[in-house]
């Protein structure tokens, strides 16, 4: 098993606002639907990266991870992350806030 670098904490992310709406079905029942609007809202979320791989890749991945915050719990090789960081995260900003220890 490999040794990994864990990068975790809370971050401020801009996520699209979801809006609910109702539509009357043919059978008369009002069905609730959600649509993703273009509007963005700021939310505080927490997530975690676990990187493994070679030293140089790890360093590059860490630098990248400062600006690209994780989508939940991401366990990926540094090399893979560097190929397409947006697949594993999205743009956001890390904030200093108390989180459960790693």
């Amino acid at each position: 098993m490999t040794k990994k670098i864990a990068i975790y904490g809370s971050y401020l992310a801009r996520v699209p606002v979801r809006q609910r709406y109702w539509k009357k079905r043919k059978d008369g029942i009002k069905q609730r639907y959600w649509k993703v609007t273009k509007r963005l809202k700021k939310v505080v979320m927490s997530g975690r990266y676990e990187f493994y791989g070679k030293g140089k890749d790890l360093y590059k991945a860490i630098m990248k991870a400062l600006k690209v915050v994780p989508k939940g719990f991401v366990d990926v090789s540094a090399e893979m992350f560097l190929i397409d960081p947006m697949r594993f995260g999205f743009e956001g900003m890390w904030i200093d806030r108390t989180v459960e220890s790693g």
Partner: protein, 154 residues
């Protein structure tokens, strides 16, 4: 909970499954040393190193390489015997993640953990942990020197 929006740095840690690690919160050094010594002798773990993470909070890393099942067995044994609430909570978190993690960087008002005591052999997992810690600390130092150009507000 305190938020400082100008500080855009996550927490860095070391994570693996084969190194036995313990995280004692609100425990005196004397107590931590007692448990480290007892666990080392009972499970024949070779050696240990104690790191102080903040006031009355300590991390312990053992030298012997073990499987994940064995690792959990040891940590659960200590948590049960010592009745340390912080350690029990930490153990539950590690079980959810399926690997154990210890912090290496600083965290809000807390400094990065520093070594305060060593005992026994240090040639296996402790050596690799310390190497990894050194590497990560170097990265963090490099990152801090680069930081001024990249600070931006959302």
């Amino acid at each position: 909970m305190t938020e400082q929006l100008n500080q855009d740095k996550p927490i860095f840690g070391f994570s693996d499954t084969e190194t036995i690690k313990l995280d004692f919160d609100e425990t005196s050094f004397k107590n931590v040393k007692y448990w480290a010594q007892r666990v080392m002798k009972w499970f024949k773990l070779g050696g240990y190193v104690i790191l102080k993470s903040s006031k009355n909070s300590y991390h312990v890393v053992f030298n012997k390489s073990v499987s994940w099942a064995e690792n959990l067995k040891v940590v659960a044994w200590v948590a049960l015997q010592s009745q340390n609430r912080g350690l029990i909570k930490w153990l539950v978190m590690q079980c959810i993640k399926k690997s154990s993690t210890l912090r290496i960087s600083q965290k809000s008002q807390k400094h990065s953990p520093r070594i305060v005591y060593r005992d026994g052999k240090q040639d296996d997992q402790i050596e690799s942990f310390l190497e990894f810690r050194k590497m990560l600390k170097n990265y963090i130092r490099k990152m801090e020197t680069k930081k001024p150009e990249s600070s931006s507000d959302m």
